[in-house]
């Protein structure tokens, strides 16, 4: 059960679960409301509820006075909606809220399908009638499985500037409904519907050195980020660790090499867990995390972007923290197959 929260006067809407505070629902969905203590004591997140019933019992009596409660004022960190609510924000600029891009549905058609490895496909879509689809590098879309009500989530691999196209890297899962369609029924020119963009996995502006870690089709959002950073001709120090099984699984090697020409300080570290013949592979072997362990120095000032299976991400977070990285600077997108999601 969830309720819709509307932020007036901007009309920004998001969903809030019944055991979730308005603040945490907003932050989870990329709406940057102001906050301080997050537990009802400091008053930074004070705002007025103009419509709808809420539960405010967890707010401190000092941070939220009775006369304020009587006037409908609430602390959003300790406010739990009991029905759909409208919150009146004061002293906010819409750009302050960094509101997520609006979610749109877009009709596309298949430009090309290309098998990159034994289990990863590249799928290129084009927006119909030359329209464009706006997103930030690192975000994902949902793709409708043609002929069904099923939607599957995939991250874009193209740069946001390349907005008429959508490039996806899709891992084939045995029995997966989109995978089956990709391998079988899909043809070029076929109509396909997408919606999005979703997600908060985005490169933060700044100067901090960047560590990127990906495995398998987790390459996609990282590639999009690298492309965008390349277009900006960034001089930030970037190290990208990519884990694959064999040398055949090292996808997008040419793209990475050409993006590298535009990056001021870029190191690509492919790591093979099962190199077929040690004599031919002189690079890192083992788990991608052990390569970080060996190669990275003190990462206190750096930030990280991780994408791939949950096990890899959890292990990478441990290594990065041991190397001194602040957990607030580790951003990730865990790829979980839809079958396991619920």
């Amino acid at each position: 059960m969830s309720f819709t929260v509307t932020l007036a006067p901007f009309g920004i809407q998001f969903e809030c679960g019944e055991d979730e505070s308005i603040l945490s629902a907003a932050l989870r969905q990329g709406v940057a409301l102001r906050y301080g203590c997050k537990h009802g004591a400091c008053g930074t997140c004070k705002a007025r509820i103009v419509e709808g019933e809420v539960d405010l019992t967890q707010a401190s009596g000092f941070a939220l006075m009775q006369f304020e409660r009587d006037e409908g004022v609430a602390l959003l960190c300790s406010t739990y909606p009991l029905e759909d609510v409208v919150v009146q924000l004061e002293d906010y600029d819409e750009t302050d809220l960094h509101s997520a891009r609006p979610i749109v549905e877009c009709d596309c058609h298949v430009l090309m399908r290309n098998r990159l490895t034994s289990d990863i496909w590249q799928l290129l879509l084009a927006c119909d009638r030359g329209s464009s689809f706006e997103f930030d590098a690192g975000q994902f879309i949902e793709v409708n499985v043609p002929g069904t009500d099923e939607w599957r989530a995939y991250s874009m691999a193209n740069a946001p500037s390349d907005a008429q196209r959508i490039e996806l890297l899709i891992k084939e899962l045995p029995g997966g409904c989109f995978s089956a369609f990709l391998a079988g029924g899909l043809r070029e020119g076929q109509a396909i519907r997408i919606r999005g963009p979703y997600g908060q996995f985005k490169v933060q502006q700044g100067t901090a050195p960047i560590v990127m870690v990906a495995g398998g089709s987790g390459m996609a959002p990282i590639l999009s980020m690298l492309r965008a950073l390349g277009e900006q001709r960034t001089t930030r120090e970037i190290t990208f660790y990519y884990g694959a099984r064999t040398a055949h699984d090292l996808i997008c090697a040419d793209e990475i090499a050409s993006i590298a020409l535009n990056l001021g300080s870029f190191t690509y570290v492919p790591v093979l867990s099962e190199p077929e013949s040690e004599s031919l592979w002189s690079g890192e072997t083992g788990l991608v995390t052990s390569a970080i362990e060996r190669q990275a120095g003190n990462l206190r000032a750096a930030e990280a972007y991780l994408c791939g299976p949950p096990g890899m991400i959890d292990a990478a977070i441990d290594v990065l923290k041991r190397k001194g990285m602040f957990s607030s600077r580790i951003r990730y997108d865990k790829f979980v197959s839809t079958a396991n999601r619920t």
């Binding site: 301080g36 203590c37 401190s60 000092f62 006075m65 100067t207 901090a208 607030s328 600077r329």
Partner: protein, 508 residues
Amino acid sequence: MSESLIKAYDRVKSIDWDPTYIRQDQKLVEKTRFHLEGLKPVDPFKTFVREYFQMEQEKDNRHYAILEASSRLSDSEPDARWMEGMKFGLSNLSAIEYSAGRQMGRMARSVAPMELRQGYMMQVLDEMRHTQLEMNTLRHHMRSWRDPAGYDVALRAAGTSVGGGIFRAMCEDFMTCDPVETSLGLQMFVETAYSNLFFVGLSSAAAAHGDKMLASTMLTIQSDEARHMANGWATLATLLQDDRNIPLIQETLDKWSWRVHMSFGVGNNLFADYFVTKRQESAKEMNMRWLFDEFYGGFYQKLEKYGIKAPKHLDRMIADQDYLSHSAAIYLFGAWPVFYHRYDPMSAADMEWFEKKYPGWYKNYGSFWEAYNRCTDPSEQALVIKELGGLPNFCQVCQLPTIFPLPANNTGRSHMHDGKRFIFCSAGCQEIFLNDPNHYQGFQGFLDRYDGFELSEVTRDMGFVREDGKTLIAQPTLEAKRMWTLEDVRRCDYVVQKPPPPPFAEAA
């Protein structure tokens, strides 16, 4: 805020005036090295005085109703370790709040454009309210706690005790440094970086130990802190508009991150680990989450695009989390006769918890606690401070003893300036001194005053003696068969002596 209120607020701002009876340069007695000309101040919060007072009055009404009720209800007794520790803790906190009020008055007078001045002025009133709340808590505890000795001298003790000197030196630095530094140091570090750590930690610990008074005091104070953080951010955001300020901001953040680490930060860790019996998170765990991940990891990143880098000694500050509270505790417990509360030594259960939360704790600190426990009974005629070889040196800047990170492996160092030797606890404090020697070189510390005093004379001079004129306020245990007297201390024959100075070292 509705449109009419915003208009009203702008109208209020427009009735500022220039006095005719004093020139601007006479009014701005203090100069700042920051560039403020032509900057457009960010308005931190549009609050009218009328609403401000309504809000603060209701906060006070609620709080004092709790005070009143609590003094009439004889409910369960609070935890003794906590209540004794608060004699030291609250006395210093009240002094810090009072000084914060003075600092903000100075800001409002010296540097503030109209938009920021209102915020600073309200903060002056907040800080005065907080000081009084804490004084009233001291008074309440003095009347209700079973041993009032120590609470009765608390406000004076904050000014005279060697432990209070750490916080006093920090506050005096705030009040005498460049006035813009005051905002960055106080509002960005004490009130933003350490705020959650302090308020969440202290108020939940107070509640867990049955100290409802302090829990309520902390909650009513915390509800003002959001405005203080907003003041700090507004000041910083204003300064960032002029590129010439960037190196000055960097220098200031480097200074105050270390300065607060070695004062307020030490106090925070000490209280969280050594004045509690109902243990939850360790000081290190709380620091890693609130201070390092959220503030130095998250908040600082917002400054990167202006070219601001992480503070110079951040790695050491993080590494210190394994030692800070424990080394400070050795000092505080070791010097017990010159304090003004009863100490509760660490029990086997405490030690087990420390070893779990801080692996290796016993190896570094176990021998101190064994020695301490041998010296608690006055009939043994043994003072732990004497058994352990006397007092260490003190840092010219932060006034902490030079025992960090570990007493046996400390970063204490000497430095010659103008033909005189100065002693520092660390490279961080040495750098602060070197950047502004005139600011610190006149500071007199504990050893300057008491070198050559027999220890009971120090206690007597400080006035930490009970009503009978003989018994010490401080006692090394909560419940003794017999309490220590000045005569007991005198018999141990420990004379305060300056130890040999540490070796010379260059700042990093």
